[in-house]
């Protein structure tokens, strides 16, 4: 009896320890962005914020790229099947995104920021569903499943970061108030063309994810070099 109790205690203790100490390896723990007036927090500059979000976007893109390639290798060995499909509609196709450097530079900061936010918001639900679907697949290794889970966190944190950047920029007077309603993805896409992300297969989802993360990363970099040009630019 005592031995069982001891085991229970040890397990409970271990569990508590794990909970406390568990740090997702791929999660970027960003320092809390402080509100104005809070002295205990570390106040970040816009440049620092941008650097952080850019790091996040890079990480997101890297992870999405890995997921796509793994999926492609595992499930779709024949390349023709993928490459023949020219029309691939992502559910985020409705979001007008600049597809060139000049186009991106022609957009205003505010609009560009809004695009970024729209994209990030559009991917919150599909990623969660994707993770759920990946978990049920036995043939998909746990590593990818874990990566899908981490993807959702990343997108979430990136979105939060970009929102903080936007807020900072608004405070700095760089941009005016953002459009509210960015959060509802249904409003972003035109209704007739709006694909349903639920209808997409997993492969297309990963494909689209990879592209959108790339876009976000690029847009953020352009924003950064336009707003806070430093040695990196």
């Amino acid at each position: 009896m005592q031995k069982n109790k001891k085991d229970e205690w040890s397990f409970a203790w271990l569990g508590a320890l794990c909970l406390v100490l568990r740090t997702p390896t791929d999660t970027v723990r960003a320092a809390p962005i402080c509100d104005n007036g809070q002295a205990s927090c570390q106040v970040l500059s816009l440049a620092d914020l941008f650097d952080r979000v850019i790091q996040h976007s890079s990480r997101m893109h890297g992870m999405s790229n890995d997921l796509h390639s793994q999926f492609e290798q595992y499930f779709l060995p024949s390349r023709n099947h993928i490459s023949n499909r020219v029309n691939r509609n992502c559910h985020t196709s409705g979001i007008l995104t600049p597809n060139g450097k000049e186009n991106a530079q022609r957009l205003a900061v505010k609009e560009l920021t809004e695009v970024i936010l729209k994209l990030l918001w559009a991917w919150r639900d599909p990623l969660w569903h994707f993770h759920q679907s990946m978990a049920h697949h036995d043939d998909f290794n746990s590593f990818s499943s874990n990566k899908a889970l981490v993807m959702g966190d990343l997108v979430h944190e990136l979105r939060t970061g970009v929102e903080k950047v936007a807020e900072k920029m608004q405070n700095l007077g760089i941009i005016s108030n953002l459009v509210n309603g960015l959060r509802s993805p249904e409003q972003l896409l035109p209704s007739p063309v709006r694909p349903q992300w639920s209808l997409m297969n997993d492969y297309d989802l990963l494909f689209c994810l990879r592209r959108d993360s790339n876009k976000v990363q690029s847009y953020l970099k352009i924003l950064k070099c336009r707003i806070v040009p430093e040695n990196d630019c």
Binding site: V86, N99, A104, K215, I222
Partner: protein
């Protein structure tokens, strides 16, 4: 539009295949080799014609489709990128759009399409090589390194952040493999750990984050400078080893410190006296100290002056009768003695010469020939044993063997008693007798002059050597009584006995003059009536007869007689020694003295006997001081106070040309 084109193409291919039968075949299938973008804004596709095709007659066309569109586009630019290429400019390039590209080879007989390739420009970026690769040698003598710097390729727009490039460089020594270094997004890199004097080749390339690596830049050659052989590490090694050696030396020195000290600073030898004990000195026991120092067997005292030891006996003779020193028992003595002194009469006929105790002592000594010998021997030895010689220190006297010898059994006593001393007067009590002085002061006595006041015949003195010497010191024995003329020094034998006994009982304290040293008066004076005071006469030893007797001859002619003054000069000779025939060897004296001086000397001299009388011992009978001899030759009576020379002289004593010995001494009969 695309479909129309497609159907037309199909028709053409059919035609081609149809026409191919007439020796003309359509071209082979081209193949798109690659499509690359250099800056993520434009891109170029290259194709390769089939081998079978004849380049002259085959034309190629590129067609592409964009994502989510059915429009077939053809290549806008076939020339910019070279042959068999298609260059898409910025206007025709869309990022994040899939391009479906196909190349069609067409000849007179037909056309052929390549397989389509789907590309997304965002993922086919391969920039140019970095530009302006420069290597600078930096660093000091302690270490040199390369600073490699470059610039991004011209076309890649990293300024706007459109492209993010990462760089990589590699270096290679001659004969070694490439060493690659990842530089990240920076455009500068330091290479350390260079081999001095080595030549390096350095290249750099770049890559976008999701793209392809560029080609390696052209090689830059650089030579590392020669480093100094003695770097800081070398100095550290040298310092370490020197410290080690230093520690070793100090350890060795420590171990051998004693010997080194001995070598460098030789110890100063301190004074060392064998047998010298510092502790004894510290304790203040000098006696023991000196005892330790002294060689056993040696007398503790320094060698005394022989002169001081000598006792000069002046024998005053009436006439030139010979004075014989012989044993009392010796019949010859009795025969030769003048005046028919009874040998047995202990009394001294002398007027008072023998009043001093020491006189008696002397007589005791002289009572036996052996004693004389002994005395002489002792004198010779400088023992200080000379009769009457009061040498400082009772020890000396105690050690005198003569006295001990004198303490022989009663035989001596009897002998002495029976002997007839030929001493007319053995001891001359002199005021200036140094003996008493010596007695008082314990200083060395000068020659104890024993002068005989009256000399008709040498009175026999029969000292009792037995008793007197016992415990008696010369000093005591030299207690001369004041020589009073009137007094008679002759005492009865009983008196003498007592005297002697008393003398015998006297303590050995030298300083106490009260000791009842046997006085001369105790000595058995000859029974002759006290003769009037007579000045002393000096006898000359003529010879020694067979009986070991010294034949004396008075020296009346030597000096004029004076009243109250010494009859003659007192000449004292030192006894050199005994010859083989038991004869006295006398030393000739050279100095001569005036009588006045003698007189003076005499006057100067104290009268030992008087002193003795004053300091008479407790219980001692008063001795009748023998008549003082006025002029007792001072010279003779002089006691050389501490003078070593036996020839007494304080001042100058006049001595006869001939060395004259005090006959008193000489007259001591020998056994």
């Amino acid at each position: 539009m695309g479909r129309a084109v497609g159907t037309a193409l199909l028709f053409l291919t059919l035609l081609n295949t149809a026409t191919s039968e007439t020796d003309y075949s359509p071209p082979g299938r081209p193949k798109l080799t690659s499509c690359l973008s250099r800056d993520k804004e434009t891109f170029t596709c290259w194709w390769a014609p089939s081998d079978r095709d004849d380049a002259l007659q085959t034309t190629y066309a590129l067609y592409y489709l964009k994502e989510s569109s059915d429009v077939v586009y053809t290549c806008p630019d076939y020339r910019t990128a070279g042959a068999n290429s298609c260059y898409f400019n910025k206007n025709n390039t869309s990022i994040w759009v899939n391009y479906n590209i196909t190349v069609a080879a067409t000849n007179a007989h037909g056309s052929n399409f390549s397989e389509p390739v789907v590309v997304d420009v965002a993922y086919i970026v391969q920039p140019h090589t970095p530009e302006n690769l420069t290597v600078v040698v930096l660093g000091d003598k302690d270490g040199t390194f390369f600073r490699v710097s470059w610039e991004s390729p011209r076309k890649a727009d990293t300024r706007s952040g459109w492209i993010t490039l990462i760089y990589e460089l590699r270096a290679k020594l001659d004969g070694a493999d490439w060493e690659e270094h990842f530089a990240g997004q920076q455009k500068m890199f330091n290479i350390f750990s260079l081999r001095s004097g080595g030549t390096y080749r350095i290249q750099v390339r770049c890559k976008p984050i999701h793209g392809f690596w560029s080609e390696w830049s052209p090689t830059v050659n650089v030579t590392a400078p020669y480093a100094l052989p003695l770097g800081s590490s070398m100095w550290i090694l040298i310092a370490f080893f020197s410290a080690l050696i230093f520690l070793l030396l100090t350890w060795i020195l420590n171990v051998k410190s004693h010997s080194v000290k001995h070598c460098l600073f030789p110890p100063v030898p301190g004074p060392k006296i064998r047998g010298f004990d510092k502790q004894l000195l510290k304790n203040g026991r000098s006696e023991e100290l000196f005892n330790a120092l002294g060689v056993p067997g040696l007398p503790p005292m320094t060698h005394p002056n022989y002169e001081d030891l000598l006792v000069y006996l002046e024998v005053s003779g009436r006439d030139e009768s010979e004075l014989l020193l012989a044993d009392a028992n010796d019949p010859t003595i009795a025969a030769t003695t003048e005046g028919g002194k009874s040998p047995n009469s202990p009394s001294d006929s002398d007027s008072g010469h023998g009043s001093c105790d020491s006189h008696t002592l002397l007589m005791e000594k002289c009572g036996e020939g052996e004693e004389v010998k002994e005395e002489q021997e002792e004198e010779q030895q400088g023992d200080g044993v000379a009769v009457g010689r009061s040498y400082g220190g009772k020890q000396r006297w105690e050690r005198r063997g003569s006295w001990e010898r004198n303490q022989k059994g009663d035989d001596d006593q009897e002998m002495t008693e029976g002997r007839v001393k030929t001493w007319p007067c053995v001891f001359a009590p002199l005021e200036e007798y140094a003996g008493s002085k010596a007695l008082d002061h314990g200083s060395t006595l000068g020659t104890a002059r024993l002068l005989c006041s009256s000399v008709h015949s040498i009175p026999l003195l029969l000292p009792t050597p037995a008793t007197s010497p016992s415990g008696l010191h010369a000093l005591e024995q030299l207690h001369w009584q004041p020589y009073s003329r009137s007094e008679s020094t002759i005492q009865s034998p009983e008196h003498k006995h007592r005297r002697q006994q008393g003398g015998g009982k006297t303590t050995t304290t030298t300083t106490t003059t009260a000791t009842t040293a046997t006085k001369l008066t105790d000595v058995a004076w000859p029974a002759q009536p006290r003769s009037p005071f007579r000045a002393t006469e000096y006898v000359e030893v003529q010879r020694v007869n067979q009986e070991n007797m010294m034949v004396l001859r008075p020296l009346s002619s030597a000096q004029g007689q004076r009243e109250g003054a010494p009859q003659g000069e007192v000449d004292y000779s030192r006894v050199k020694g005994l010859n083989s025939g038991d004869g006295l060897l006398l030393q000739r004296a050279v100095d001569a003295e005036t009588q006045e001086e003698v007189e003076e000397g005499q006057e100067e001299e104290e009268y030992p006997c008087d002193i003795q009388e004053k300091n008479s011992l407790l219980g001692d009978e008063r001795y009748t001081a023998p008549p003082a001899v006025p002029g007792q030759m001072t010279g003779a009576g002089k006691l050389s106070m501490g003078l070593p020379t036996a020839v007494s002289l304080q001042g100058d004593t006049i001595l006869a040309a001939n060395g004259y010995v005090d006959t008193a001494v000489a007259m001591m009969p020998t056994h």
